[in-house]
Amino acid sequence: MRYNERQIRRWKREYVAMDAAGLDTSEASVRLRAAQARQTDFISKTGMKRQSAREMAAGFGRSQAVSSIKEAEQIYQNWSKSIGANDQIKTLAKYYDVKYNDSPRYELLKTYVRSVESGRMSPMVRFDLYEDYHRRIQTELVGKQTKSGITITGQSKHFLERVFGTMIDPKTHKPRSGVVLDVIIQCVTTSTDISDPVIRADGKRSIVILAEGIAVSVNPDTGILVQTNPKEK
């Protein structure tokens, strides 16, 4: 709580100084909102009383607070729109709510951002679609069995990257036609063309399930979906 108070004061002072110098205040605005959100979350979870006086900084009054909030909100709106999360997580306040109170969704958002930033997933894939496909795999595949009797228990981050890798041509960056996820689901649940387990370099085992136009790999020991790639039909 004291740390958050110090951070709030620090970024308020930074905002005032940058504003007075006519410099960019966006970082101070964003970091101030993050510190305030951490404080709000801490207080709501501990039941402690907020001491607003301890969060004050000289020169940072009501008008600076309004400007700072608007600036942070605008930055969030631009970012969330760029990744396609603006329809699901509409405001910065909602974003912080997800961050502190919806851990699985926040983890998914972080994973999505890492996949795009690493270049393993096209920025053409928006977060709303990513989240929808993750949900579909969880509801339509997890719990189902392969024809060899392996129960699917989950999906690796890489698997979802590859699902989208089969949907967007890496050369043209344009979406390919076809409902790839339906093909994957059908492959995993109905195909009898299943390889013997292969041993990976890291010691894990993997089986490959083949169907027309697609290959899907599953760890037979954990039931985790690991890999998929398109094939010629």
């Binding site: 690796s156 890489h158 050369k171 041993i199 990976r200 690991v226 790639n229 094939k231 010629e232």
Partner: protein, 67 residues
């Protein structure tokens, strides 16, 4: 002969020489998939550097020949 970049061809000549002259796309994609499966992952089920390189070749062979 199937379409692919010189870089992909060099990769296949080095790692899967038996399939470089294949005439069917899946005759390259199937062994390449298994090669990625065996050598292309780290302990977190992410691609390692070899996996990234091999997937690039896979994408090139697939998208250059299948539409």
């Amino acid at each position: 002969m199937l379409n692919m970049t010189d870089k992909s061809r060099r990769f296949l000549e080095k790692r899967l020489p038996d399939v470089v002259m294949a005439e069917k796309v899946n005759d390259i994609l199937d062994p390449l998939y298994m090669l990625i499966e065996v050598e292309g992952f780290d302990e977190n089920d992410d691609y390692n550097a070899f996996g990234d390189e091999a997937q690039e070749v896979y994408d090139d062979v697939y998208y250059s020949n299948v539409r």
